[in-house]
């Protein structure tokens, strides 16, 4: 996938719609990341952390029983096996090292399901930074375990109590904090969204998982690439990571959105959280609340590069219902002994639904996180069903 232009745009999406008070910080961050990313010392330090601390490379797992059941050859990129339980750690370790390099001492983050918050709190503990994580009140309730984990790690978790009280409101709160503390704080944004350079920087920091997956697939498939690469999309960071490994191959790229938060599938271009992208909004441009079983995908927008990939037809973005997601969650657990997070269960749900059309093909799914955090929610749900 290509780099954005000088204005931070992928095609007609992206840009930098932030208050003037944040522009110096965005410009500084852009320069600092460019400098660090070209510096072999920085890259070596990050690679060592990813290997020795996060446990990279994550394995590629072939799902024999599920493949047989579906008639589709299913491979999983196991980001669930990373330290802290998801792909989020890749981005966070990179941004934490960058924070140190910029001489800042405080990390700010927003979180939906809590995975990015936990990863940020973890990096803050590792590097001795102060850490404040904003989380929607609704999400704090449905992801209590992650709230506790963040607090154990020494982070302060602050509730976002305005509007829908979910991920988009947590982003607003984090931006409000950043405006006031920008001289000492780095906003460790957790997805490929926000003002430039975030969408590009976060994708580059997740590229490692796509590059690994491509090599692993070629080793397994006798030099071939999978036919289809599938990932769930809220803001779209894990999808950006895996797509970046396959964008220049002939693999079909599929980003799966939740039906209740389908920005590409149900939105129109808009401007929020610093970027132009597809956005679910009403007739006047007020941002609509997303409704999804998965707190991590409860976001009415999407990263601008995904909007661009949809625009040019390089990737497509279908959506799945909450019920399909719960069914997929149970299917993978039962057939492979892997409990997925509800977020990547969206990708699985699409593959299961489309299995007849995918028959005989090889599909790579990015299993972006593990389901421990969701088990209590699923337990309540299934008990409710009787």
């Amino acid at each position: 996938m290509g780099d954005p232009d000088a204005t931070g745009r992928f095609g007609r999406f992206g840009g930098r719609f932030v208050p003037e008070t944040l522009m110096p910080a965005c410009i500084e961050l852009d320069a600092a990341f460019r400098d660090a990313w070209a510096d072999p010392t920085f890259r070596a330090e990050l690679d060592a952390l990813l290997r020795d601390y996060a446990g990279r490379p994550s394995p590629l797992t072939e799902c024999h029983r599920l493949s047989e059941e579906l008639g589709v050859r299913v491979l999983l990129k196991r980001e669930d096996l990373n330290h802290t339980g998801s792909h989020k750690i890749n981005n966070v370790l990179g941004q934490a090292l960058l924070t140190k390099r910029m001489g800042k001492t405080r990390l700010l983050a927003e979180t939906g399901a809590g995975q990015h918050g936990v990863a940020t709190a973890t990096a803050a503990a590792l590097m001795g930074f102060d850490c404040v994580v904003y989380m929607g009140e609704v999400d704090m309730e449905r992801q209590k375990l992650n709230v506790f984990r963040m607090r154990l790690l020494g982070a302060e978790v602050r509730p976002a109590s305005s509007d829908s009280r979910t991920l988009k409101d947590a982003v607003n709160e984090a931006m409000r904090d950043w405006v006031a503390t920008v001289e000492t704080s780095h906003y460790c944004l957790g997805s490929v969204m926000g003002p430039h350079p975030y969408p590009w920087m976060v994708r580059e920091l997740h590229r490692v998982l796509g590059d690994e997956a491509r090599e692993q697939c070629r080793a397994l498939l006798g030099g071939a690439d999978p036919d289809v690469v599938v990932a769930c999309v809220g803001g779209g960071s894990n999808a950006a990571g895996i797509f970046s490994g396959f964008a220049d191959t002939s693999a079909e790229l599929v980003g799966v959105e939740p039906a209740g938060g389908a920005a590409v599938g149900g939105g129109v271009p808009g401007v929020v959280h610093g970027m132009t992208s597809f956005l679910k909004q009403d007739e006047w441009g007020q941002v609509e609340e997303a409704q999804s079983i998965s707190a991590g995908l409860d976001y009415p927008g999407v990263g601008p590069e995904h909007a661009h990939l949809a625009d040019i037809g390089r990737a497509r973005y279908p959506n799945v219902t909450d019920q399909e997601v719960v069914d997929a969650f149970r299917t993978l657990t039962r057939t492979e002994g892997i409990i997925p997070a509800l977020e990547p269960a969206h990708a699985l749900a699409w593959v299961i639904r489309e299995a007849p059309a995918l028959a005989g093909r090889t599909v790579l799914i990015n299993l972006s996180g593990r389901g421990d955090k969701d088990v209590a929610q699923i337990m309540d749900l299934l008990e409710g069903e009787g």
Binding site: S162, M175, V182, E183, G270, W284, Q286
Partner: protein, 258 residues
Amino acid sequence: MASTMETHLRTARDAGRKLLVPYLTGGLGPWTEHLRAMADAGADAVEVGIPFSDPAMDGPVIQAASEQALRGGTNPGSIFADLRGVDAGVPLVAMTYYNLVFHMGDARFAGEMVDAGFSGMILPDVPPEEQGPWRAAADPAGIDTVLLAGPITPDDRLRVVCEQSRGYVYGVNLMGITGERSSVGEASAVLARRLKAVTDKPVLMGFGVSTPEQAVEVAAAADGVIVGTAVVRRILEGESPEQLHAYIASLRAALDAG
């Protein structure tokens, strides 16, 4: 060439008057009566917030006002409609977030603003680099776009902001979001002096100002002061137009007394 709004503000300033520009949230209660009361009490212009679902630059008070107005059915169309037939006698400046404009289309939004009687616009999430499409519509329509600068805005950006800004330049007193503060501090005067050094456009300072004493302090190094949250809080607390008139008059009197 200076626009009508800028000429109005410059004339007042050049006559030795400190400018007073209050803000209120459009659509909140009998808001056009509050607007008229503030104009009558000595405001030199009034900023009208057009509520947006995600006001990332605003503190809890203006957030609450926005949510309340939105729940009551406020939208850009209702704001424009409410203003028809209202002659406040002072320039009106809309303040909102860019998505509402982008969604309607820059040219149509600018046209609707002109029809409703607005002469200025503040878009806090549109920095100089992203002004292009809006300005291509607003400038020919005669809408003055006011840009913001903050305490850590470097000199080169400060010059660009002052060059691009029309009507006045909005100096942000402090690092942070809108809201009342017990002390606005030295940063305000430093920024006001830096702005005055590079522009002769009116320089108004806002964020954190609520008392007459603060208004006088902040206006000292600048051309005037913007008061937002303190006004909106009073409206949320149920103050009548008469009570609001008294508050604005107290700020006016303090500024006039120096």
